[in-house]
Symmetry: C2
Subunit: 518 residues, 2 copies
């Protein structure tokens, strides 16, 4: 499981097939292979030794795919930077895993000066845009033009392929170590479960610094098809790209799918090439699936569940479970079953398997599981117990092995010995027409241990009182699940990625008390 | 890549599906999983520690599949014995890798006494037949009935899964070490390249002690379908089994396929379930393919190339390359292209890649390649050079990466600086109606270095002289490829498996000379 193997195969067997397409620029696998071997030579020439990290801070492009393969070809390790991060977060990741080379394109040029000033070791910067390299930076294109191709470093197996930083919502970001074996094992079985023909054309919209994006790049290399790169989400550009490139499949999140479906020019594009959409876990995907199947009859939908630590896929719900019957039976709400190589169990707090239908923590094992967090042995030990990676997600498994996710374990509220899943109650509260946003947390309670507490933001001009909201909840869920207390606010604290920071909501209630707030 | 993972998945997701069928006896995956966990417990109770070898000497059966999974579940390593071997060969393999537990069924009971007497450590013997266990042996069924199931040992990755002994024709047998990762990596990509539906029913005719048989068992476990076991090749039994079990696919060698096609009752069986046949490399498969496609229109044929050391598949020629057009273009004679994870090169004696179309040695690298031969570091170093496993097979690659095998490298004759492939000349000689069998070898020649020499066995009563045979050859191949000398014999020296022992033919010519005869 050298991740470069698929490039050897492409160059040997189908050098004329299109490897990358980016805004009309196309490169064949022959050309791509040559550029990768030259870029690898340049990086090695700039000091990249085996195992050294190289970062990229840029939206999706054909050069991003060359960066991925070029670093691996030269024996290095990716540090693909989340473009939504602030400079201090970027600098933290560069410092944490000692990254000395940084690729940027035009979009993030303005960050370079601050990064250089604040990083422990000011990185060597390579400009990977279309123009001239700014002063003090090397040019991606010049390096490729001037460096002869080198032989593959043939890194593989347990060698690191990537350090991918996750989360800012739960404290300092953690660098998830992903080996060649991890990414290979997380991607090859996907092809066995949902085969892709060699002429498949995948559109990468999900950012390549995210494990879903990187995983799809690896899977597409294994399949041997064409990568179409889209730098950011714009429904119109996506529709035009699908038509122009004959895109056959893509990974999208539900909000993107909804935007596509709502686009006024949807019917003016020829989207007949589109055969399959993969989408990420979402509790509200039901209506979207129905609309999607009405718009694209016969399209294959696959719903996957995974984490950065599982490189990426834990389970997938295949197209046949999106049928009318499956939607009626509720099977379409499952995230699927453990695939080839990945074993899933649902366990209690002591790690014992719980009976089917009972909610517990989802734990997994398999060759796709990260060896741990970079330089964080304690966090690694907390996640990896008795050989099982603890996802922190709560869920249950039905008799056929299908997994249903209910909540983050740490968002689960234990009140009077009963488990309440905040997501369930948030969905109920959100149905009230006056509610714009809400969060449900557990707060300390003398008698019940924890009590259900709701924090609610109303729509502009809307009115709602606590008693009415509690009544609304009681219509849908058992009384013990309804909020004991409700707090109305003007806004909720959000992370950079738009996630509600429940930790901040919990803190004032729990400071000095036993519950671990993270 | 725990090889037991597929059993966890089966028991969790489809416990009622049929796991094994043997002469009408069927066991569900639920039952199979329970028996495996009990057998593992019994083996551990008998002293099998992690990494310990356990042998089985028996034809294919459902218990053979339980042995495979049970040994892995308990943390042990398979030593599946070639049933064609003599007692000294069996004892050699037991002694060589220190195997202390041996499973036998009725067929090979007569060997047990001699094995016990001659082995360095008389093995503990488990009788895995249908009757009562003979005195001094344990009973497979009693062990399963009496032992509670144990938890999986979760061995995987670089842990050994099997030591498979190969060849007696080239000196002492060598124990090829096959890790969990090797077998997983040799099998998972097969499913990506030729997907199998979960309801597939595979008939195992190829012996399970052979890598083709074991590899298909692993692939079928990954696919999650049913294993149908056939103990030995009998065309009539095969036809009846296909009908009775609804067999969808099987691995067969060309002689088996020919026997099936020639069976007088062929048309009386309902063979409509048969969807796919995998067959091993054979130079004379052309006519068979034509006949097979005429008899079973629409059947998918896949031709694979592999070795015990490649666990098992190096390359496969898919169904589409068996079409009329592919047969006319010669593409159907290829063994296919490097698959997902396996990189193939054709190299010269110094390890340099040769141009397309030029014959050289086939070398491969990938996660499926054995770490080496048990206790034979020198043999390992000879085969594994610069990261590439040297197959010993000569072949060439066309512009699209398709590999064509021409000969074993050591059977190649270098005469006057030209390479002559003995297989090519043997095929020409065999076309002469008077010839029953032949072998072509290189013998020392003062002027040419080596000279082409043919050893020929005539059909009973047939007559042929050297000059006529040379003339026959000259009709088909260049003069330098024609035998300089011909020797007529009553018989050729054969190995137990029916292979011609060219080493014995060469020896008298080369003893004391430089050519290495192996």
């Amino acid at each position: 499981m050298y991740l470069t193997q698929c490039l050897h195969r492409a160059v040997q067997q189908y050098p004329d097939r299109t490897a990358t397409a980016f805004r009309g620029r196309r490169r064949s696998y022959g050309e791509f292979g040559e550029r990768v071997a030259r870029l690898a030579g340049a990086l090695v020439g700039l000091g990249m030794a085996h195992g050294d990290r190289v970062a990229m801070l840029a939206p999706n492009s054909d050069r991003y795919v060359e960066y991925i393969m070029g670093v691996w070809w030269g024996g290095g390790v990716l540090n693909p930077i989340n473009v939504r991060w602030s400079v201090p977060e970027i600098v933290y990741s560069l410092d944490d895993c000692d990254t000395r080379i940084l690729l940027v394109d035009d979009t993030y040029l303005p960050h370079v000066e601050a990064i250089r000033a604040k990083a422990k070791h000011a990185p060597l910067v390579i400009y990977a845009g279309d123009g001239e390299a700014p002063e003090g930076m090397l040019s991606f294109e010049t390096l490729i033009a001037d460096t002869p191709p080198i032989e593959d470093a043939w890194r593989g197996g347990d060698d690191l392929a990537c350090i991918m930083y996750t989360g800012g919502t739960t404290g300092f970001p953690k660098g998830v170590m992903q080996t060649h074996l991890n990414l290979w094992s997380g991607c090859v079985p996907r092809l066995a479960e949902m085969p892709q023909p060699p002429n498949c054309v995948v559109m990468h919209v999900a950012p390549l610094f995210h494990v879903a994006g990187l995983g799809r790049v690896v899977t597409q290399f294994l399949a041997g098809g064409t990568h179409v790169l889209v730098p950011s989400f714009d429904a119109g550009e996506l529709l035009a790209t699908i038509e122009r490139e004959g895109v056959t499949e893509s990974v999208l999140v539900p909000t993107m799918i909804q935007a596509l479906l709502a686009h006024p020019d949807l019917s003016r594009y020829n989207l007949s090439s589109l055969r399959r959409l993969y989408y990420g876990a979402s509790p509200s995907a039901g209506a979207m699936v129905e609309q999607l199947l009405a718009q694209f009859p016969g399209i294959e939908l696959s719903h996957s569940y995974g984490l950065t630590e599982t490189c990426p896929v834990v389970s997938s719900n295949p197209p046949e479970n999106h049928s009318d019957a499956a939607r009626r039976s509720g099977l379409s709400r499952s995230v699927g079953r453990g695939g080839i190589g990945v074993t899933i169990r649902i366990v209690d707090a002591e790690g014992r398997e719980v009976p089917r239908g009972t909610v517990g923590e989802i734990v997994v094992r398999g060759p796709n599981i990260t060896p741990g967090y970079w330089n964080k042995p304690e966090e690694t030990a907390r996640a990896m117990r008795n050989g099982w990676f603890h996802t922190g997600d709560g869920g249950y498994m039905n008799e056929q092995g299908y997994v249903f996710i209910v909540d983050r374990i740490k968002d689960m509220i234990v009140t009077g010995g009963e488990n309440v899943y905040s997501a369930e109650i948030e969905n109920v509260i959100a149905r009230h027409p006056a509610v714009a946003m809400c969060a449900v947390i557990g707060v300390p309670h003398e008698h019940w241990g924890e009590a259900v507490h709701a924090v609610v933001v109303l729509k502009p001009g809307a009115k709602l009182d606590e008693a009415t909201l509690r009544e609304h909840c009681r219509e849908f869920v058992a009384s013990y699940k309804c909020p004991k207390t409700v707090e109305f606010r003007d806004a909720l604290p959000l992370s950079g990625a738009g996630k509600i920071l429940k930790k901040d909501l919990r803190e004032p209630y729990w400071s000095g008390k036993a519950r671990e707030t993270k």
